[in-house]
């Protein structure tokens, strides 16, 4: 039953991705000011939104781990696996956001990069979560998960700063399209393709997130079995 549900979900994600691509490339009109380059928005903004949500997953996992680590070992490991999955998949989406933003900037502004508030805070966010992943990869010992959880909580503080950066500081990056000044928003002919792509990328992201979580839980169980086996060997000597 579970396998069937997963297969159906994967099939739905593939259909959504194809539909989203079709909407972005063939249904949405060119922007009156920017022309075709505006179509990058259908991948750039959903990638940023998914990254933000997954960094929030990391925040919840990190807080949960710190709360449960002393008395509920298995629950703490579950929270930790969600935290790792959120950070890692969030970094993948944040990488796409930065790359696509840079390409869009090259055509729209004539430059690949500028130290604008939105770009800089997003780069800092990416660096924080890359350092989170490096900490998990290279630090050893029982304190690693605790340190990673604390870093994850601090990292999440940058998410609202990134979100608000082009509202607080008006620099190079355009003002918010949604929830910005009066008159901001999108024409329905662009909004529908945008929402389809938002849905498709969220569905894809959730699939990848769950897969990463499952891989980490599997790794934790193998590590626990190896530790048990080593303990038995030691006690038998």
């Amino acid at each position: 039953m579970k396998k069937l549900a997963i297969a159906l979900y994967v099939a739905a994600v593939i259909v959504l991705m194809i539909w989203g691509f079709y909407q972005a490339m063939y249904v949405a009109p060119n922007d009156a000011m920017q022309g075709e380059i505006f179509r990058i928005i259908y991948y750039h903004v959903p990638s940023a939104a998914v990254a933000f949500v997954f960094f929030a997953v990391n925040l919840i996992g990190s807080i949960g781990y710190l709360a449960a680590r002393r008395n509920h070992h298995d629950r703490a490991q579950t929270f930790d696996a969600w935290a790792l999955a959120g950070a890692e998949v969030g970094v993948v989406f944040c990488t796409v956001t930065l790359l696509l933003g840079s390409m869009w900037g090259r055509r729209a502004w004539g430059i690949w990069w500028t130290w604008d508030a939105r770009l800089t805070t997003t780069l800092v966010l990416w660096l924080i979560y890359v350092s989170y992943l490096l900490l998990r990869r290279f630090a050893a010992g029982p304190q690693m998960q605790t340190l990673a959880a604390v870093l994850g909580i601090f990292g999440a503080l940058d998410v609202p700063i990134v979100y608000m950066s082009n509202r607080w500081w008006r620099t190079q990056h355009p003002a918010p399209v949604f929830g910005g000044a009066p008159g901001s928003g999108m024409a329905p002919s662009m909004l529908h393709p945008f929402l389809w792509n938002m849905l498709a990328w969220f569905a894809w992201g959730v699939m990848i997130l769950y897969l990463r979580y499952a891989v980490e839980r599997h790794r934790q169980k193998i590590a626990a079995r190896e530790a048990d086996a080593a303990l038995h060997e030691t006690s038998s000597i």
């Binding site: 691509f21 490339m25 022309g35 075709e36 380059i37 179509r39 990058i40 991948y43 750039h44 990638s47 998949v89 993948v92 990488t95 796409v96 790359l99 696509l100 390409m103 869009w104 090259r106 055509r107 894809w204 990848i208 897969l211 990463r212 499952a214 891989v215 599997h218 790794r219 193998i222 079995r225 190896e226 086996a229």
Partner: protein, 49 residues
């Protein structure tokens, strides 16, 4: 089609390709990691028998 429109089109295609290369590379890496872990679990099962 003028030159700027052609470059815009190439940038959009490149952006979409880069997105999929990043996403599918990560998915492939996860798949390899999963397969390595399954082998490790099988090895542990064999050793515990």
């Amino acid at each position: 089609m003028d030159q700027a429109a052609i470059i815009d089109h190439e940038f959009v295609v490149a952006a979409y390709v880069i997105t999929w290369v990043v996403q599918l590379s990560y998915l492939a890496w996860l798949g390899l990691k999963w397969r390595a872990q399954k082998r490790e679990a099988e090895r542990l099962n064999r050793n515990s028998r």
